[in-house]
């Protein structure tokens, strides 16, 4: 019984960490958009759509702890991860001009912010989604053992 509890505690911590990453990302996105006034491009919006609900979904799974929250959160995290990867490929120019999904408004291939010479918003997004997906996957695998 004791051993089970410890495993549950660890899994709770992972989901909690995933929630923390999602919340920091959400607040960061809101800060960039609402406070600093950067206009999000279409792909940024899709990534937001994947990120924002994670804050609520993961929080709901924490109290009381429900490991099945992974089932509902992981698809969002993976979708966000793929979108962020696509976005980065677009910025890097690996994806040809003709299939760019954004024509009007802010072009997604524009780099609005670069910190330390290489950190861009889509990179941060990919980073966050990868951590979240990794933590959720670990939670799932740990539970199956």
């Amino acid at each position: 019984m004791k051993a089970y509890d410890r495993s549950a505690d660890r899994r709770w911590s992972w989901v909690f960490l995933a929630w923390l990453v999602a919340t920091v990302s959400t607040l960061g996105a809101l800060f960039l958009g609402e406070v600093m006034g950067y206009v999000p491009c279409v792909l940024c919006w899709y990534q937001r759509i994947a990120m924002f609900p994670l804050v609520l979904v993961l929080a709901a799974g924490l109290f009381p702890f429900d490991p099945r929250v992974v089932r509902y959160a992981l698809p969002l995290a993976v979708a966000g991860l793929l979108l962020a990867a696509f976005h980065l490929a677009l910025v890097a120019g690996w994806i040809p001009e003709s299939i760019r999904p954004c024509q009007q408004g802010v072009p997604c291939s524009d780099v609005q912010i670069t910190w330390f010479g290489f950190v861009t918003i889509p990179l941060l997004s990919l980073f966050a989604f990868t951590i979240i997906a990794g933590l959720l996957l670990a939670t799932k695998l740990k539970g199956e053992k």
Binding site: W12, F16, W19, L20, T23, V24, L27, L30, F31, V35, M36, A59, L62, F63, F65
Partner: protein, 218 residues
């Protein structure tokens, strides 16, 4: 219990960081805007800019205006009231920021009316009827002209004057100054060279009153 404390504590900490960041950021922006205006005083007022009020008025409001901008037309009567409330104390200088597509043509109409000494009546007439000549944010100079009928303008002369190359140059200069001063939205106000801390009529009134008090103390 520990888990709940951790969760709630983190949530509150993150929100606090967000709010603190907001204050720090807007404070920094305000400082930067002040410094930018300070460093570019020459860009604020140009000889060619239309102006209203006593030349030696202690308070000078510089307004970057787009005749097709809805907020500009909403602000205009209130700015006039503000000036009327402090007669001879406020001078207004208008700079053009025709950000709407086609707005520059309307500015040309205003400048042509200015040659016939009808700038302010023309501006007022156009701002008051903005909705009918700039439907859905698309200013149409031909429609705008019709709203100047009652002003007794020489329309033939107007048609000639709107094409004057110096109007184009004047607009280019104003747009360049707007760029230098980081004016990206209209209306943008500078009171005695200071930008508004944040946008709003209350903020404008407060800044004007602060400058009036300063002038009275001198």
């Amino acid at each position: 219990m520990k888990q709940q404390t951790l969760f709630i504590g983190s949530a509150i900490a993150l929100l606090l960081v967000f709010v603190a960041g907001m204050f720090v950021y807007s404070g920094q922006k305000e400082k930067e805007a002040n410094q930018l205006a300070e460093a570019n005083r020459a860009a604020l007022v140009r000889m060619h800019a239309p102006t209203l009020g006593k030349a030696d008025a202690p308070v000078v409001i510089v307004e970057f205006i787009d005749p097709a901008c809805e907020t500009c037309s909403a602000f205009y009567p209130r700015v006039k009231q503000l000036m009327a409330a402090h007669p001879d104390k406020i001078r207004i200088v208008l700079r053009y920021a025709p950000f709407h597509n086609g707005s520059d043509k309307v500015v040309a109409i205003l400048e042509a009316a200015r040659k016939q000494d009808k700038f302010w009546p023309a501006l007022e007439a156009l701002l008051a009827t903005q909705g009918s000549w700039a439907p859905h944010h698309t200013p149409q100079a031909a429609l705008a002209l019709k709203h100047l009928d009652g002003l007794g303008l020489n329309m033939e002369q107007m048609a000639f004057d709107v094409t004057a190359p110096e109007i184009e140059k004047l607009i280019a200069q104003d747009l360049e100054d707007a760029r230098v001063l980081n004016v990206t939205k209209t209306p943008e106000f500078f009171v005695n060279g200071k930008p508004l801390p944040s946008f709003g009529f209350e903020q404008l009134t407060a800044l004007v009153e602060q400058e009036l008090a300063k002038a009275a103390a001198r």
